[in-house]
Amino acid sequence: MKISYKWLRDYIDIDLDAKTLEEELTFSGIEVEAVEELGAILNQILVAEVKERQQHPNSDHLWICQVDNGNEVIQVICGADNCEAGKKVALAPVGTQMGEFVINKAKLRGEHSFGMLCSERELGISDNHDGIINLAGDCVNGEKLSRYYDLSDIVFEVEITPNRPDLLGITGIARDLSSLLHREFRLPNPELPAGTKPIRAELQLDNQAIDLCPRYTARMIKGVTIAESPDWLKRRITAIGLRPINNVVDVTNFVMFELGHPLHAFDYHLVEDHQIIIRRAGLGEKFVALNDEEYILADTDLVIADSKKAIALAGVIGAANSQIQSSTQDIIIEAANFKYSAVRRTSKRLAIFTDSAYRFERDLSDMQAELAGRRCCELILATAGGELLEGLLDSYPEPEEPVIVTIRPSRIKKVLSINISQETITNYLESLGLKQLSNGEDSLQFEVPHYRKDLSREIDLIEEIIRLYGYNNVETYFKPQKVMNYEIFRNKRNLTDSLVKLGFYEVVNWSFAGVEDLDKLRIVERDRRREVVSLKNPLGSSFAIMRPLLLPDILRNTAYNLNHNQKDFRFFELNKVFLQGAGKQAEEKYHLSGLITGLRDAIHWREEAVKTDFYDVKGVVEELLSLTGLSGIEEKYSKETWYQPGVGLDFYNQGKLVASAGKLDPKVASSFEIEVPCFVFDLYLDTIYNEKRKIVPDFREIVKFPPVLRDLSFLIDQRFDLAEIAADIRQSNPELISKIILFDEYKGKNVPSGKRSLTFSLTFSSINKTLNDKLISKEMDRIVRSLEKKYEIKMR
């Protein structure tokens, strides 16, 4: 629903800026979805005067006007005929932003124009586009038009929740704001003139469906003059997006949006026999609505009828046969309430969605109907004239009983955790229109106003209290504490889970070791890992220290299993290792270590059995490191003493050692009674978790342009490492080369000794253009030339 700020101010004195009001509304439960500023354009438009005009030499419908803008006389081309000399006009100077267009200096059929003369429609003043606006003679040239036309308004588009039909009128919003902001609220409550003849003599009312129409009121005005609405009325309803039609229809719309209660007006003379009958429709009854569509009714639909025909689909839409026309003189004003479920059923079945049905299906108040009818008569008398008939027809067999609710302060405390006095409770609820009936030790009794049907239980009142108190003013007392780093917790599980999927079995060993383990690994005296924590009362010399590495235990497990006829297996252990700390606190760090031996894969008839090698264990480490979220890993040949010289690799991140992998030196293996090739790895989990890591990947747009693949094959000296070569290739154009895959290495026949042949597959892709062959060939040439220069490669 749209709310005009100016309109809102008719009922409550507020001067908040748009932003503040938006916030107040949102935090009182009325969510603002959009804010629109109206009439701002008039600040850019100037009053001007046409001094002279002549016919455009090259056009018979354009005029060349010399216009005084208060400062100078400028030339403007105008297409309207009513721009005679001497007229005061509205000038949009060069630079004015009109909607999506900017007024520029222009040349129209060879003549210069420095601005535009505007029509009322172009200025948003009215729908009138017959010529330009002619301003009153006393408007001063050069003044902003906003001085004479105040159209400025702010329109809030708000979402009203289904439990609050009382907010479907602007007065409802004003009432809610008044209790929130402690401002006085003015509800229109007009007193009508006594009237001449009694209405009973002119109109009969017969309510035959009391269950679907709890209340029906009709008033009559004779001798109205149907005409255009006055400006103030047009401005109000256009501000909220309605189109003015005529004074009577506009007033019914105005009152619907003012009080939230829909109304309908009938032409008295089109109502047969001057009878209004409220009845269920006949099955299959035809009904032509105001929108000229024909609908087939069902016997669950409620209609307003005269003696012959239906004249409205109750609460949903009027009929074409009885609507207000320009010739209408005498009118019937219906203000009623209809059963929400019936209106909803009819509206949904026939797919007629009107502002009226929208309101009725949210369960409106019987009492409000009478007020709406009264207000409507007041405004029609004021805008369309005529004479009111005396009294009203009112079918209201079962008046609504006021709802009485008891609220306990102790309950408020329990639900809201706030301490508020009985006085505050009373103030809050009375500001919302509730009436206090009594108060006891721990119970206050309130009568709920008719327009708040959503308040019927204690908990409903408690909700109102917290709404006014402010949800965010409730003191909180429990701050969840981060005892655990869940992210690391989960990552450890991910690592071990993927090792399981890669065929690893987890081993669990005691935390004890012997110093001889370090000797077997050839760890030198000055190595940090010699600073071990020793037990005073160990189980024996092989259990004398807290282990500084997981590897010796994994090697023992390996030897044990090799001795028991197992040949192909993979082990890992995730556990703490210990070293002496700075003070008496030891250093305890989590490591993840593992071993691979035997065949790479399970025996399968389709494939040849392959023995594991270094690249298998390296692949495992690459996989694990990528799971930790580290990026930018650097590789260096390892100096760890348990690797076979030249077959161990260290992995660094930002200069810190995070992992190593390699082939177990055969001598070291022997010392653990292992005589087969083993490949081992070690991850420094604590170091990894202290590094900056990508926890959540950054999404990148999918590249729309197809990538281009090229192969690159050459002979190169063996002393150059792949990492360096690949880096150089990428470096030649990092933006364009998205992938470099080594897909073959070849040594042997046809390759000179000391050389190897490498074949790469390069993927070129661009995020913003299609790559053509010429460009790629140029890139390939550049790559080849630079490799030739640096490595003396020979292309194959």
Partner: protein
Amino acid sequence: MKEELRKQIEAARTAINAAERQHDLMQLKSQFLGKKSDLNGFMMRLKELPASERPAFGKIVNEAKQQLEELINSRLLKVKESEYAAVLQAEHLDLTMPGKRNIRGALHPITQTWREIEDLFIRLGFQVADGPDIEDEYHNFDALNTPADHPARDLSDTFYIEGDVLLRTHTSPVQIRTMEKFAPPIKIICPGRTYRNDNDATHSPCFHQVEALVVDEGINIADLRDMLNYFARELFGPEIAVRIRPHFFPFTEPSAEMDMVCPKCMGSGCSLCKDTGWLELGGAGIVDPNVFEYVGIDSEKYTGYAFGLGIDRIAMLRFGITDMRLLFNNDLRFLRQFK
């Protein structure tokens, strides 16, 4: 020219009927019917004919094109059919031969049980706390209401490093460290490795424990019993009952030991439970006010419960493992059973 056309068409027919592959047919199609084909060439050469003959000849060419197109399409259907038949013929497989699977290992049964326990607590909003294995006497004993001269210290055979530094004998020091750092409400479990100088078929010098600690206003023995029941039922099944009986621990008051119904015989008695129908599960109790004094928690305002269990023992019960030493042998013939 007519004769030329006839020869062309004849050659095309022969070639199409001889084609055996879809690819060849596609090539023939572009050769005979494409923009640069000979048939199209005839259309270009129409003007060489006398004007009166042009329409008739044009018609013949167009008809020939249409016929060739139909011929190609029908030949294409046949070729597809025979290619399909060839695929069926070639792929005659023995589907009973083993499929290709990736190798897969397994987590150690202790880890599997450990995770199970962590998860059942995390589901109820517990956080997992970690702490050092190498502790000091203050956190392992003193703050747990077990002062230096207290006889309770003799109950555990402690590994010492030097001075007051030792290997923790339970994960209770993690409770102390957490309470030192965080104010109530506290809801944690501390799983971890613990050490006692004891090594035989039923004791390992390294073993694994999990302790739970809840501190808040109004925590009582009913909360403790609820949690023990939940714990046992999540791990061993909905029928499992837990009982607690009075016991002594320096850091809880009242203290209790807890038993659960033997999951093997469901209480009727068997070898596992030594015919009692019950298995001892661990220790529990309401946190002793003295412990709260040590860590600076208002013992008037707050109460708490704590309990501790052996993860290894629960793993053995869950999987029916009878010898504790198997857990640390890492024999593949053992580990492979937990895939």
